[in-house]
């Protein structure tokens, strides 16, 4: 059976051109970037060149890029790094006063859990609500900032519902108030334009495996002058901000993937948005189907819909039996058996969250695949509805 991959938001295949670029760095140019001999310098050169490519994409300087292993690590470093550095350096917080951090209520679990950990360790956290489309209101950010606020973290685009946040406006407010602004751009990096200057971004997270690069590489952009405390201590790699022997092959791949995304961004964005809109139109013809997320400010590759009377795990497994790979925010498919907090935050009822389906498109997606999906999906929905006590 031919398989169709509609889960590019979870991870992407490594582009063949990327793989080719990485190849020499496993067995041939395998040196350690910290070594002074030619093997080491070869690796160091590749690292420096990669850093330049990554910096260029977002209008940053190379020395503002810290390579990490993943977006999870970058987000942990951003939140904990700023929090701990402030506690150490800012005399306002040497007494009993707690520093304050603002996040949105639809962040990825690695931001949520980092914030939770900080809350347990004496920081104050505010979670901003979002509107029915999943957008943070910049005015809410402004109102949430207090004298003790040190950091605002709002994602650039949602991994679940594809909503693009108004980060330019949020960045501007943070700049005016003298508060650091971090954005998790894991889902938008390489897909839509980012300019850290224009958008007043102080810290930014990206992940290689979401953009046709290999797993095991991520980055944290940290604006010059922004103080962070490292989490990994050791040999002093990455300017002392992230010790550990640098994963050169993965980073070379990350850079190549970035070059390709940059060159193809415009054309690919238009192509995917067309396919996305076609898919949305087709899915909404199914009775009861409802689009989640913002119809306008939306990633070109994300579709998220709910069906009221069926459960998501059953839906995605039926799709899988037809060779189609999607994901769901249903509780039954999560380890905690709780429905997606993102979908609840945009006001969905639990049963609507249970019946949610996320389809994320990518480089290999074709019009034919969309056609096949739109033929199969109504049949499955119909079958599950027949089995369900709810007939909405």
């Amino acid at each position: 059976m031919k398989r169709i991959y509609f889960d590019y938001a979870a991870t992407t295949p490594v582009d063949k051109r990327v793989l080719k670029e990485m190849e020499p760095y496993f067995s041939e140019k395998f040196g350690n970037t910290m070594s002074l001999h030619s093997f080491g310098q070869e690796a160091k050169l590749a690292l420096d060149q990669s850093r330049q490519v990554l910096a260029d994409l977002i209008n940053a300087k190379p020395n503002e890029i810290i390579f990490t292993s993943s977006a999870t690590e970058s987000n942990n470093l951003a939140l904990k790094g700023v929090a701990l550095a402030t506690r150490k350096l800012d005399s306002r917080f040497h007494g009993n006063d707690n520093a304050h951090i603002v996040i949105s209520s639809i962040e990825h679990p690695c931001i949520m859990e980092s914030a939770k950990w900080l809350a347990k360790n004496g920081f104050e956290i505010t979670k901003l609500p979002v509107d029915k489309y999943g957008r943070v209101n910049p005015k809410d950010v402004e109102r949430a900032i207090t004298e003790k606020t040190i950091l605002v973290s709002v994602m650039h685009a949602s991994n679940e519902i594809g909503t693009i946040e108004p980060i330019e406006e949020i960045g501007k407010i943070c700049r005016q108030k003298g508060v650091y602004f971090h954005t998790d751009a894991s889902q938008s990096f390489g897909k839509i334009p980012i300019d850290v200057e224009e958008m007043n971004i102080d810290l930014l997270t990206a992940s290689s495996h979401k953009m046709y690069g290999p797993k095991g590489a991520g980055l944290l952009y940290v604006r010059n002058g922004v103080k962070i405390e490292p989490i990994l201590h050791g040999g002093g790699q990455e300017n002392g901000m992230r010790s550990s022997t640098v994963n050169v092959p993965a980073i070379v791949g990350f850079a190549k993937a970035t070059e390709i995304c940059k060159a193809e961004m415009k054309r690919e964005g238009v192509r995917l948005a067309k396919l996305r809109d076609k898919l949305i139109k087709g899915v909404l013809k199914i009775k009861g189907a409802k689009l989640n997320g913002d119809p306008r400010n939306r990633l070109p590759n994300n579709i998220n819909v709910s069906f009221p009377s069926i459960e998501g795990e059953s839906l995605i497994i039926h799709l899988d039996l037809y060779g189609i790979a999607c994901s769901t925010g249903s509780a039954c498919s999560s380890a905690k058996l709780e429905p997606s907090y993102v979908l609840l935050a945009i006001g969905l009822k639990p049963e609507e969250a249970h019946g949610s389906l996320r389809i994320s498109l990518g480089r290999q997606t074709t019009e034919k695949e969309i056609g096949y999906f739109l033929k199969v999906l109504p049949k499955i929905v119909e079958k599950l509805k027949k089995m369900s006590p709810f007939k909405l």
């Binding site: 459960e311 380890a335 058996l337 639990p350 049963e351 089995m387």
Partner: protein, 167 residues
């Protein structure tokens, strides 16, 4: 490395998947003798079991027909189907002896986090029989009354816990 070729093979057994693909006895029974409604939409699983009861030659109550309607995951749909197979044609007394372990065994196993789906199937049957006894004005055996109370209590707890979630 082992090749993965069937859907969900690391999570569900082939029997679960086969049952999920082609479940038996789903739908409604008009004029059912008893209906058991368990689960909670907030948790993501709701199971309704319909039974049609008739007397056999010995005059015992027999589950002549049984159907389910389930909103839930692969495990919930498979356990629903299996319980209908396990008790169809049995006397009510025999049917009430079916346990969650019987359900799990018949499916060749379930992941631990999905055990509650098999409990749901057994509970739905108990509730359907209880409903039948109530409707026909029969005396409810002490054991059944006890089980019903436990099911109802846990249902109330869950409803209390999730009250206001949808506001």
């Amino acid at each position: 490395m082992k090749k993965i070729n069937n859907t969900c093979s690391t999570l569900y057994t082939p029997k679960v998947m086969a049952t999920f693909k082609n479940p038996h006895n789903y739908g409604k029974i008009k004029n059912a003798s008893g209906i058991g409604k368990v689960g909670n939409i907030v948790c993501g699983d709701v199971m309704w079991l319909y039974i049609k009861v008739a007397k056999n030659k010995k005059g015992q109550d027999v589950i002549k027909d049984i159907k389910f309607e389930t909103f839930g995951c692969v495990a919930a749909i498979s356990t629903s189907s299996i319980i209908t197979d396990l008790v169809k044609g049995k006397t009510i007394n025999e049917a009430l002896k079916v346990t969650k372990d019987n359900v799990i065994e018949s499916l060749g196993g379930l992941p631990k986090i999905k055990y509650h789906c098999s409990v749901l199937a057994v509970d739905a049957l108990i509730e359907a029989v209880y409903d039948y006894f109530l409707k026909t004005g029969q005396k409810i055996p002490a054991d059944l009354e006890k089980k019903h109370k436990i099911i109802k209590k846990s249902k109330d707890i869950i409803e209390e816990r999730y009250k206001g979630w949808d506001k």
